[in-house]
Symmetry: C2
Subunit: 274 residues, 2 copies
Amino acid sequence: MSKPLILVVNDDGITAPGIKALVNAVKDLGEVVVVAPDSPQSAMGHAITINKPLRLKQVNYFGDIKAFHCSGTPVDCVKLAVDKVLHRKPDLCVSGINHGSNSSINIIYSGTMSAAVEASLEGIPSVGFSYCDYGMEADFTAAAHFAKIISDSLLKFGIPKHSLLNVNIPKLPLAEIKGMKICRQALAKWEEEYLERTDPFGRPYYWLTGKFVNYDHGQDTDEWALANGFVSVVPVQHDLTAHHVIPFINENWNFDKLANAEEIPQNDSKRFNI
Amino acid sequence: MSKPLILVVNDDGITAPGIKALVNAVKDLGEVVVVAPDSPQSAMGHAITINKPLRLKQVNYFGDIKAFHCSGTPVDCVKLAVDKVLHRKPDLCVSGINHGSNSSINIIYSGTMSAAVEASLEGIPSVGFSYCDYGMEADFTAAAHFAKIISDSLLKFGIPKHSLLNVNIPKLPLAEIKGMKICRQALAKWEEEYLERTDPFGRPYYWLTGKFVNYDHGQDTDEWALANGFVSVVPVQHDLTAHHVIPFINENWNFDKLANAEEIPQNDSKRFNI
């Protein structure tokens, strides 16, 4: 019997405690290979490296488990792993365990989730795990417990093509976690504020700060699940088309007329008169 | 009567010809302010800068139009513009005109589109424009023509909340473009290959190369529109939930049982026996 091949990636970098916890969680489920960034790559979103070459180096961080660090982004790690390390698509890609939540809208900023999305684009069953505790001293026991259960289920039961999972684990002891909830992404956003400071040379610079605001009162969301002691499991896809908006534009914008307009009609001031 | 406030951003950097074409296209539609990266930021996806401070500097690239360059990513530019330059949400955010296509799956790698998505998250009507010609010498006449029409329509007719537009213009003279098609994102992907080379010190490095493959034969896709001489207009949203997968997991994964499992059941070898 062949063992499943499992690719482990993350965005906090290969030395982060979270990836060690994930490797330990899945190592009995198959043959594990790690390809992870050589430095922290949080909030890199779906960035890829196109204008400079990448480096890849075999390292020895995980005992007898084959591991490489890469100079690129989390998405680069997945691409490079498939082409140059594994030489085939793995049976599963697990990303994380991220230090901090990737629930709700955080998914689009998250390197952890973008790595998992990239694997899914390649047709690889994949999942990103995030633990709602930013600390480097965080206790990953509960997160690793659920990472193992879900990774095992993905291997056994699969997931429809072009979809993957975004899993967040609340900051609670394992005994206090009520279970897992399959849910949708909550409608929430960050309200940003930039701190303005002055450098030693008198020039201004800006630090991003922000407040997470949840506008969504649904009880079927990831935010609800996490606030109520559940692990949130959101199935994710990468068709970004807003299908419901197609009829709106067809009905409200006169596309045929617009396309042939020699001159743009004057702004009819519907929206901008005082 | 107040004039609409229009934020112009891009990912190719503030000196790229594409953003100049876009500024010229929209400058008669309202009060235009530019905040764009100080260096090329292609393929940055939805990356944001969280671990270092940002710089912002007023520049004089566009005559009497207020313009700033920023040391961060395209998404940083939008966030910083709203908080520190405009001090309010603009009435429209236009991103581009990108040098090269952002149709289909390219949207998730694209800094141009991520900037537009970020504006949409803030509740700002927004659109990203891309011209299917990578060259720095490209002729943006046709692209600018459609950018003006679509920006004007967005101001006049609006778009449902939490959605935005991804517009791609084929590499054709204006007279040969057949019109605009509202379409969905084609199911396509990049098949990567990394070139392996050796540096002067004998160490290997890797360059990303790839081939774009369209698996989608639908005639309602952006790839079809572009291949057939139309401008593609895809409405985009940022709820990544794969709603159709929720019942699959509920039916196929025994979540209640899994959550309470003391021990993970042995891999039942359904998928990995030889």
